[in-house]
């Protein structure tokens, strides 16, 4: 690779006049690529009844999502299936054009030969976008005519969306800049020259798909935060008429019922996390004691079986809980049939008493053996000479544990502790969802479960988003704080 990089014409510097169209092209191509996943910029939303949360990408690939909210319209054929299919084809063409431009953008990072060849892609891609856009326009016309024919034009709300013009501008700009760049890039005179690219860009482009996937699935959801500022209900739309600003943020504190819920949920969250943090030394104790057992076979046996629960899902833990603690579970049948206790038919899962403690115990049962592995390995990496020296000085086992083993594990423990403090609001929802029932609902609902219950269960999208945003922001603040503390104390960051 070094050899290849050296083969690049190093002295190839471009003037500003040549670089400008190149950069405009790259940036516009990038914007077009992002806009492809951006519902408000969807050029294909030519009817108000087309799902508002559908982007150009969705329009191009998923018939079901386009027609999500037009059941009656489609059944009565106010909009014809054929038009929707045609619209999909048009959107797919626009997408293909954008992708070709993207390829050109990637290749524009290469050497002269590669750049020149790369610009052929947008020179084909931009017209393809234009053709797709024209087809969208055509479908728009057909839809309009058909709507008039059946007299339901007002019901189907045919329109040319803003995104259409955005994409028109994209296509024009891309074509123009690509053409200029193509014409100003001299043809490679050396017939032996090969297409090549500086290694740093080549490596980046190879990582690009991963970066894009991450962007789409981990960063793009932030766009969903906009629902917090609107009166949104599932399947509805957002616009100037239901923009409410910070109403929902105020609502958290001004609506007594919500405030009460929130406080209750926060209490549960903090108590459960607090109990977890308070018992976070258990894995250390587990590891230290296990290391005191001298048979490695026994150690391995214990380790193998105590880590199994970590690998089953919470649903299965719940199944096991039913099996052990329900009315006809192990505990009751053991009491009544083996110990002959009469009237032993309590369903322990339905009792709300000690819910926090029970949840802690289940969490410990599931996690302690697994969490201990880190410490067990930590112990094995402590220098044995320390122990020998201590014993020569007359230290007994407990002193060795207290003065050598435990201090050796503290750094790891600090990292774990800081991480769990940073994650104090995120207990996850699975455990609490499966164990929740009508009896213990009030004490088991943690923040994550609350967000799920109001957002998905009760369809209060905006409120749920507000709670989620607050949680995310507090979480990230805590994380940076924990990181800062770690840096200050240990001189090492944890993230």
């Amino acid at each position: 690779m070094n050899a290849a990089a050296n083969a690049l014409p190093q002295g190839e510097k471009m003037s500003l006049g040549r670089r400008l169209p190149l950069w405009v092209f790259r940036i516009v191509a990038l914007l077009a690529g992002i806009a492809m996943f951006f519902p408000p910029a969807n050029p294909g939303r030519i009817s108000e009844k087309i799902n508002e949360s559908a982007s150009l990408f969705t329009n191009g690939v998923s018939y079901g999502t386009i027609t999500n909210s037009m059941g009656r319209i489609l059944r009565s054929q106010w909009i014809r299936d054929a038009d929707i299919t045609l619209l999909m084809i048009a959107c797919a063409a626009v997408m293909a054009g954008v992708i070709l431009c993207g390829i050109g953008g990637c290749m524009s990072l290469g050497n002269r030969k590669m750049r020149r060849r790369g610009f052929l892609f947008p020179l084909a891609g931009a017209p393809m976008m234009a053709a797709g856009l024209m087809l969208i326009r055509h479908v728009h016309g057909r839809m309009m005519a058909h709507g008039e024919e059946v007299g339901k034009l007002d019901k189907i709300g045919v329109m040319i969306p803003g995104g259409f013009w955005v994409f028109c501008a994209f296509a024009a700009l891309l074509f123009l800049t690509a053409l200029i760049a193509f014409l100003t890039t001299e043809k490679e005179t050396d017939p032996a020259a090969k297409m090549d690219m500086d290694e740093k860009y080549r490596l980046f482009l190879m990582l690009l798909p991963v970066v894009l996937l991450t962007f789409v699935f981990a960063y793009l959801p932030i766009w969903g935060w906009r629902f917090a500022f609107f009166d949104y209900s599932a399947g509805g739309s957002i616009g100037a008429d239901n923009y409410v600003g910070f109403k929902w943020f105020h609502f958290l504190f001004s609506d007594p019922a919500t405030t009460k819920d929130l406080l209750r949920v926060l209490r549960n969250t903090l108590i459960m996390s607090g109990l977890g943090i308070a018992t976070s030394w258990l894995p250390i104790a587990f590891a230290v004691l296990l290391a005191e057992v001298r048979s490695t076979k026994f150690q391995r046996f214990v380790q193998t079986f105590t880590t199994i629960p970590n690998f089953i899902s919470w649903v299965l833990v719940y199944a096991i809980a039913i099996c052990l603690f329900s009315t006809d579970g192990f505990v009751n049948s053991f009491l009544s049939n083996v110990l002959n206790v009469s009237g032993a038919n309590t369903n322990y899962l339905q009792i709300a008493d000690h819910t926090w403690l029970k949840m802690l115990l289940w969490g410990t049962w599931k996690g302690v053996g697994w969490s201990a592995i880190v410490y067990i390995a930590g112990i094995s990496s402590i220098d044995q000479q320390l122990y020998e020296a201590a014993k020569v000085d007359g230290a007994n086992r407990f002193r060795c544990i207290w003065h050598i083993t435990i201090p050796g594990l503290i750094p790891t423990y600090m990292v774990m502790l800081l991480m769990s403090i940073a994650g104090i609001l995120s207990n996850g929802m699975e455990q609490y969802l499966v164990f929740s029932n009508a009896m213990n609902k009030d004490v088991i609902e943690v923040l994550d479960l609350y967000v799920y219950n109001i957002g998905i269960g009760q369809n209060r999208i905006s409120l749920s988003t507000v709670v989620g945003i607050s949680k995310s922001l507090i979480g990230i603040t805590l994380l940076f704080a924990a990181n800062g503390i770690s840096k200050a104390i240990r001189g090492e960051s944890i993230i």
Binding site: F217, I222, L289, L324, G369
Partner: protein, 317 residues
């Protein structure tokens, strides 16, 4: 885990030492028992006579009824064969197996590729992109925005929703990156001098050398996929045929109606067997067992990989 012994001091053990040692061993035996007994209990409930299970006669050993109707030690597998009559179970098993195989394989490939590239110091803005990937471990936009995003992508009621979002697993990328960094770079350099491309180096040198870590993340991924519940619960509202096994089990566990009623009509089971199959609990237990068994089967062989994974994870990325 293996700790070198320091025999000299252990030769003479005081009475206190003995008591301590015994107490520790007893403690660990007890805890290990607590960890495995539930699985055992679940198992014997599914292989005993269903009437005995319902009346609570099965406590420590699998029991069957003899001719006189008395409980004796014995095993039956009728509950397992009867599972094929449980509605919708087949499709969720298929879906779960498919996502476990496909999702894991693709995730491992993506992760191995990303983990290798991210070790390349020459990459343009490498550390920025690395942080860009890793930050997503600590930050998420929240459940509802995530759901709306999936809706926007057309990934609701769609099998691909199980595969595509899982392709990039930042934690696994850190593991692979850390591992690859420990491989002597001279191996790679000599291949580069011989003119191997990045792809070729990855395929011929990096992949074979990182098999242990890839096995580790494959196991993590497979277990995660097998246990997946939340995405099915959130995204597959209109496609019950795409529910994962855990989701299906969750529904069974929560169904107040008798599962027997959910069994399809005209099965091959006899009248009497059908009667005993009406036992909802036993069906729940059996389905649970079916979804635990794969994990229990692979676990002992894979344990060292798990351990290696968490060890590497403890090393900061």
């Amino acid at each position: 885990m293996k700790r070198e012994k320091t025999p000299s001091v252990y030769i003479k053990r005081s009475a206190g030492d003995w008591i301590f040692d015994i107490a520790v061993v007893v403690l660990f035996c007890a805890f290990t028992l607590i960890c495995i007994f539930p699985f055992y209990y679940l198992l014997i409930n599914t292989i005993s006579d269903n009437d005995l299970v319902t009346s609570g006669r099965v406590n420590f050993f699998p029991m069957l009824k003899n001719e006189a109707g008395k409980a004796v030690f014995g095993v039956q597998i009728n509950n397992y064969t009867a599972l094929r009559n449980v509605q919708d179970l087949g499709s969720s098993v298929l879906v779960t197996v498919a996502r476990t195989v496909l999702g894991t394989a693709l995730m491992v490939i993506t992760t191995a590729w990303a983990g290798y590239l991210i070790t390349k110091r020459k990459m343009w803005k490498r550390s920025f992109w690395y942080r860009f990937l890793v930050v997503t471990m600590y930050f998420n936009a929240g459940l509802v925005p995530w759901y709306m995003n999936m809706l926007m992508m057309g990934l609701t009621d769609n099998f691909l929703a199980y595969i595509i979002p899982g392709l990039v697993a930042p934690y696994n990328i850190i593991l692979v990156k850390t591992y690859i960094e420990s491989i002597p770079s001279s191996l790679e350099e000599s291949a580069v001098i011989d003119g191997a491309s990045t792809l070729k180096v990855w395929l011929k040198i990096i992949l074979p050398l990182s098999v242990p870590i890839l096995a580790t993340i494959a196991i993590f991924g497979a277990v995660g996929n097998w246990n997946s519940f939340q995405d099915s619960l959130l995204l597959m509202n209109n496609r019950p045929d795409l529910y994962t096994l855990q989701h299906r089990l969750y529904i069974y566990l929560n169904s107040s109606s008798n599962l027997g009623a959910m069994m399809s009509q005209g099965g091959t089971i006899s009248e009497q067997a059908a009667q005993s199959m009406l036992n909802q609990r036993v069906i729940q237990y059996t389905v649970s067992m079916v979804s635990i068994i794969p994990i229990l089967l692979v676990y002992p062989f894979m344990q060292r990989y798990f351990v290696k994974g968490i060890m590497l994870g403890a090393v900061k990325g």
